[in-house]
């Protein structure tokens, strides 16, 4: 085999009688160089030594912790016929929880693993309550499960990863430590693979060089093997020492529920304000004018017909305005157009919009009423924003189905520059819409560069 030509990154090789090329592209060359660079630097990074320290110190603590928890548990179970046994068991669980917290903090500060704290321990009142809560503490039981798993994994890691570090240094230092032929002291899996006894032979120059090179290989491989072990442990920490997934979901739902409740309270307040400031004031003024007219008519001798006619005229106009206001408020609570479905309701909105609006709808499944209402209010609010702020000449609304999701896209060719906090009026603005959408696990996405166009995308589940 001869390499007779080197062109760029390609190598042309003649093997036997056949010629073949080992050409690699520029991109591959860049990647290869980056990889070599990375491997060469890795042993000298802080992260590697933090991981090694985590592995060694954490492993030792795990062994101690497991021994303690195992002994106290056995003792607790043996004594379980009395309350003392149960109390010992609970104390054992409480310490397992504490150990879990310690390992979690270690993973956080030494590995930078972003694992959140689980629910704190909440004891019911009284000694019996404490026993019951302690025995049912899911977080503690998961910590107990973590200990033997990590211990077993660490045990394996000592033979595979820790020995690799040891052997790497033994091989690298053997010209100094082994000059008298007393042996290298290599052990573990690497030594077994490369024949520990063989390595311990008194050395000649070739043998010595080979051992040294092996040390170099071990040294650069060790960080990755260690990381493999540490990464599995990260997985254990995340799944057993982090928050209980069930409790996380419960907390999430509690938050969305709070937001939804707040949003509906804000809606009620807005309706009350609309009624108070608009309709009620209108009706009071109306009643007042009629009251004045009535008093003027009480004395038939001296009726100023023009004055009374003016009062009744104003009252009449006020009554009509109050009716129109009430209709608007009622529409804000539940748009009657929705009774016939989203399609018709959106068509009405698009037709009523001050900016000419194109509408395209393709829905195979009818969303649940709550989703239809949210979709309707989103489009209504967004189109109102377009009319008020965008200075647009056209707008478009598209409503499509994507699997089990409903996607609304409202687009305009206006001046852009809309921001979530600035758009819209108070509780019914974009922030209010976002809360409403989040309340059903949906998403609202706004893209509005200065100069436009503005595109708002809303994804809603079809049923909620």
């Amino acid at each position: 085999m001869t390499a007779d030509q080197v062109e760029g990154n390609g190598v042309r090789v003649r093997l036997g009688g056949r010629e073949m090329s080992l050409a690699i592209s520029d991109e591959q060359a860049v990647r290869l160089r980056a990889l070599v660079d990375r491997v060469a630097r890795e042993p000298f990074t802080k992260r590697v030594w933090a991981e090694l320290a985590y592995f060694v110190v954490g492993g030792a603590l795990t062994a101690v912790g497991l021994a303690f928890v195992a002994w106290t548990m056995v003792a607790g179970i043996v004594l379980a016929i009395t309350f003392v046994g149960l109390a010992v068991l609970v104390l054992s669980l409480r310490s397992a929880r504490g150990l879990g917290g310690l390992f979690r903090r270690m993973a956080r500060s030494w590995l930078g693993e972003p694992v959140a704290d689980p629910e704190p321990f909440a004891s019911r009142p009284g000694f019996l309550g404490w026993l019951q809560s302690g025995l049912r503490d899911r977080v503690a039981w998961r910590s107990v499960a973590y200990l033997p798993l990590r211990a077993a994994w660490t045990f394996l890691g000592v033979f595979v990863a820790l020995s690799l570090w040891w052997d790497a240094f033994a091989c690298l230092l053997h010209p100094i430590t082994n000059h008298d032929g007393s042996g290298l002291g290599v052990w573990g899996l690497p030594a077994a693979i490369f024949g520990g006894d063989h390595l311990n032979q008194p050395f000649g120059l070739v043998h010595g060089l080979a051992v040294f090179l092996l040390g170099v290989v071990f040294f650069f491989a060790a960080p990755w093997v260690t990381r493999g072990f540490v990464n599995v442990d990260r997985l254990l920490v995340r799944s057993l020492l982090g928050p209980d997934p069930v409790q996380v979901r419960v907390r999430q739902l509690e938050q969305t529920r709070t937001r939804t409740v707040d949003a509906s309270a804000a809606t009620l307040r807005r309706i009350e304000r609309d009624l108070h400031d608009g309709t009620q004031a209108q009706l009071v003024a109306l009643a007042m004018r009629l009251g004045m007219a009535k008093e003027k008519l009480e004395d038939p001798e001296h009726v100023d017909v023009e004055q009374v006619r003016a009062l009744v005229d104003e009252a009449h106009r006020g009554a009509k305005e109050a009716i129109a206001e009430l209709r608007d408020i009622a529409r804000g609570i539940h748009p009657p157009a929705l009774d016939v479905g989203l399609e018709g309701a959106l068509a009405t909105l698009a037709a009523r919009s001050a900016v000419p609006t194109d509408l395209s709808i393709s829905l195979d499944t009818r969303p649940t009423p709550a989703i239809e209402a949210i979709a309707y209010f989103c489009v209504a609010e967004l189109l109102a924003n377009v009319a008020q702020h965008a200075q647009a000449s056209r707008a478009s609304v598209s409503c499509s189905q994507q699997g089990t999701w409903l996607r609304l896209v409202v687009r305009d060719d206006g001046i852009g520059g809309a921001e979530p906090t600035m758009v819209g009026s108070s509780s019914s603005g974009l922030a209010g819409l976002t809360d409403r959408v989040k309340g059903v696990d949906g998403r609202l996405h706004l893209v509005s560069p200065v100069g436009g166009p503005t595109v708002v995308t809303v994804d809603l589940p079809l049923s909620a």
């Binding site: 304000r273 003024a285 009535k294």
Partner: protein, 219 residues
């Protein structure tokens, strides 16, 4: 119609109502010294024109909660002799308690609906302007309903309870007499009976009488 010549300042943020009130009061011979939409404007208007009475909406900018009430308490401390008629879409017993904490002279608290009965409203406003009291029947009803003294109220006859309510609204004996279509002498007899039965301190002064009745209902 009647030209009372009383000078009135108005603070009401709804333009429709404000204009309506001005029209009504001018029609009844009042002089409007200022019709404004927020507390600050009323403060300076009152300082400048020294009206006899101020009509104040409770919910006003900026927060639309109880701006008017706080303004009323402030004006009462600053301008002695200024009558204050609070004007609201709802009546809150707590607000009435705050307002009447130490004195009922020149204080009114009415539902906005009351303007529909123009004469009653004008009557209440005049009463407040000259140092009397005008409490909305709704407030009195709430107080009578919520009182822990309902046992003591059972010793009153139906007629006496009616008289008690009207007294609590701040009406004079003459007004009570005409409202119930009885003689003033009969009203005086009912009032004396009520005070005796409830063991209240007798007072000739109308607004002291109101306070006594309210204290009784609140305690």
């Amino acid at each position: 119609m009647t030209a009372t010549g009383l000078r009135v300042a108005i603070a009401e943020d709804s333009a429709i109502l404000r204009d309506g009130l001005v029209q009504l009061l001018v029609d009844r011979g009042f002089t409007i010294t200022g019709a404004v939409g927020d507390p600050a404007a009323l403060r300076s208007s009152v300082a400048q024109h020294a009206p006899d009475v101020a009509v104040i909406d409770i919910r006003m900018p900026p927060t639309f909660t109880d701006e008017g009430l706080r303004l009323a308490l402030e004006l009462r401390d600053r301008h002695h002799g200024l009558g204050i008629l609070l004007f609201s879409q709802y009546v809150e017993t707590r607000y009435a308690a705050d307002l009447l904490a130490d004195d009922a002279a020149g204080i009114g608290y009415l539902l906005k609906d009351r303007v529909a009965d123009v004469s009653d409203f004008v009557d209440a406003l005049e009463r407040v302007a000259v140092g009397g009291t005008a409490l909305d029947p709704e407030v009195v009803m709430q107080l009578m309903g919520a009182t822990r003294r309902s046992d003591s109220l059972t010793v009153l006859t139906a007629r006496e309870r009616e008289v008690l309510s009207l007294m609590a609204e701040g009406r004079s004996n003459a007004a009570i007499a005409s409202a119930l279509v009885i003689s003033e002498g009969a009203v005086e007899k009912h009032v004396a009976n009520i005070f005796a039965k409830l063991d209240l301190p007798v007072s000739q002064n109308d607004h002291r009488r109101v306070l006594a009745v309210l204290r009784f209902l609140e305690s």
